[in-house]
């Protein structure tokens, strides 16, 4: 096909396109290369971020390291090298597709649309779409936002739901799109927008890190549930099986509870803040019945 050919030429010029390359399983590649590469975020607190020595840490990172242990066992390679690769929302797909990273350990929402491109292992966190606002405004529900200006991060499921709600309830909300979460939060802080619609766990992270966390409040009303998953390449059942089994084992054995407590209930590096987010009922249900479903209904 002509257009496909063109895309490939463009792809080569950008440094990624190996259509002719044989499809090799991740496990084989790890065995041959002697290393596994984890993709991590730099500021998804407390899931995946950098500490004061620029070392990637977090809840999702700990889970990925458990998966790495399972891979070591599976391949009988106890000295398997673990590499770290920083990623952003823009680079996570290309880097996963071209084999730079083997697992994406961050805060990526599992959706059916995204599953057309990549796949997810068992959900490791269930968050809800809420908004943060200044306490002084007294905003609790989405109806309180009627006619006001709010912000969300462009390209997120959150901005999509905010748009849908705005139309469905005829609220006349003016929705701004920020480039990233930090900037969206800054817009609320400086009064450009009254509320920032985002996953509640990320909002809690921003509030906890603000100079004066008491200024802010997170809405009681939630729009949806968002299951976070660790991403891996599609069409690699052997690797997915190892990863899924490692996660399931961790969930069933109660090992997850300890990791959860470590990141969400206790002081975390680098500044020793406490997120103080007890495990949600939805997450408890996932622990009892591990699932990799993108369907929000499953988590209700």
């Amino acid at each position: 096909m002509k257009i496909r050919h063109f895309a490939c030429v463009l792809g080569i010029s950008l440094g990624f396109c190996a259509a002719a390359q044989a499809q090799q399983g991740t496990l084989d590649r790890i065995r041959a290369g002697g290393g596994i590469t984890l993709g991590h975020r730099d500021a998804s607190i407390p899931l995946s971020y950098l500490d004061d020595r620029q070392k990637p840490i977090g809840y999702a990172m700990d889970l990925c390291l458990k998966i790495v242990d399972a891979v070591k066992e599976e391949l009988k390679m106890p000295d398997l090298r673990v590499n770290y690769q920083p990623i952003t929302p823009a680079t996570r797909i290309p880097l996963l597709a071209n084999g730079t990273i083997d697992l994406e350990c961050g805060s990526t929402t599992n959706t059916a649309d995204r599953q057309k491109q990549i796949t997810f292992t068992i959900t490791h966190f269930v968050t809800a779409n809420r908004f943060v606002s200044k306490k002084a405004g007294g905003l609790k529900t989405f109806d309180d936002l009627k006619g006001k200006t709010i912000v969300s991060t462009s390209g997120t499921t959150n901005v999509k739901q905010a748009n849908e709600l705005n139309t469905a309830r005829k609220l006349g909300i003016n929705i701004l799109n920020a480039k990233d979460h930090a900037e969206a939060f800054l817009m609320v802080d400086t009064g450009r927008a009254v509320a920032f619609v985002m996953d509640d766990i990320l909002l809690a992270g921003f509030v906890a890190n603000h100079a004066d966390p008491r200024l802010f409040t997170i809405s009681s009303e939630a729009l949806s549930v968002e299951p976070y998953g660790i991403m891996l390449r599609k069409g690699d059942p052997a690797f997915k099986k190892v990863v899924d089994e490692a996660m399931t084992k961790l969930f069933k054995s109660g090992g997850l509870t300890a990791i959860y407590e470590k990141w969400f209930m206790k002081p975390i590096p680098p500044r020793g803040i406490v997120m103080n987010i007890p495990m949600s009922d939805a997450m408890k249900r996932v622990m009892d019945n591990p699932t990799d479903s993108p369907d929000p209904g499953v988590y209700k």
Partner: protein
């Protein structure tokens, strides 16, 4: 590489409810055009004025012009956008700051202002070069004919300077279009922002960026063709910067 190409994605409807993905890119391209054309017009006017001022044979004027150029040229565009959007409303009196924040399409106007100032310095420098590249005799001859400073510039120096700098201005125009993508950082949903949004929703990264690359390429090609037409239309018989070196030699120029 294990990547699942899907060019049909563009006809699928975008989750933000505005229409197909292709349509959202079109909406983005429209903001890109609106922001870059507005900013370019303003930058051209400001740049011509500032560039002319810096060549005045009056110390104060040229110092003021140079200060303007160095100020807006030496701060990265990204930082300037950020300053106009987040910092300026905070340092102004509260009522004006609040008005700026609540203004409809404030992202758009912020982007236009930042892009205009930034680009105007580049236009100014080029315009100054266009004026100074003319032989000193031009100005002397004009003044010998009894023209004052305004007339010298209006009838002799500026018309020629404009023709001399047209080719670099074409590049500057194209830079403005490309630089408008920085407006994404202040929340303008222009082409790059829409491309990224599409990538996030669908995870079809390469398709999204391929098409937006093509859109940028096509718009820029149209600019090049349009500017060439203008160059041709404005050419002065016997004076062309495209003349061959031999002709230049013969004329002793």
């Amino acid at each position: 590489m294990e990547y699942n190409w899907n060019w049909g994605i563009f006809l699928e409807s975008s989750p933000d409810g505005t229409g197909s993905y292709l349509y959202t890119l079109f909406l983005g391209a429209r903001w890109t055009l609106a922001a870059s054309l507005t900013a370019w017009t303003a930058a051209l006017l400001m740049g011509i004025i500032v560039g002319t001022i810096t060549t005045f044979p009056r110390r104060l004027w040229s110092a003021l012009g140079n200060a303007y150029i160095e100020f807006f040229r030496n701060i990265p565009l990204l930082v300037q956008m950020f300053l106009w959007f987040f910092v300026v409303p905070e340092i102004l009196p509260e009522s004006i700051g609040a008005w700026m924040k609540r203004m409809p399409n404030s992202s758009f106007w912020t982007a236009v202002i930042a892009l205009s100032f930034f680009t105007s310095t580049r236009v100014a420098v080029q315009f100054r070069a266009g004026i100074l590249s003319q032989a000193r005799g031009q100005m002397m001859a004009a003044q010998a004919l009894g023209m004052n400073l305004t007339q010298t510039y209006g009838h002799v120096l500026l018309p020629m300077a404009f023709r001399i700098v047209l080719p670099p201005l074409t590049s500057e125009f194209m830079n403005t279009l490309k630089n408008s993508s920085v407006a994404m950082t202040v929340g303008l949903m222009e082409l790059t922002a829409q491309t990224r949004a599409m990538q996030e929703f669908s995870f079809q990264v390469f398709e999204a960026f391929t098409v937006s690359t093509l859109i940028y390429l096509i718009i820029n090609l149209l600019i090049v063709l349009g500017m060439r037409q203008i160059e041709r239309g404005l050419a002065v018989p016997g004076f062309s910067i495209e003349r061959d070196p031999e002709a230049r030699m013969r004329e002793g120029g």
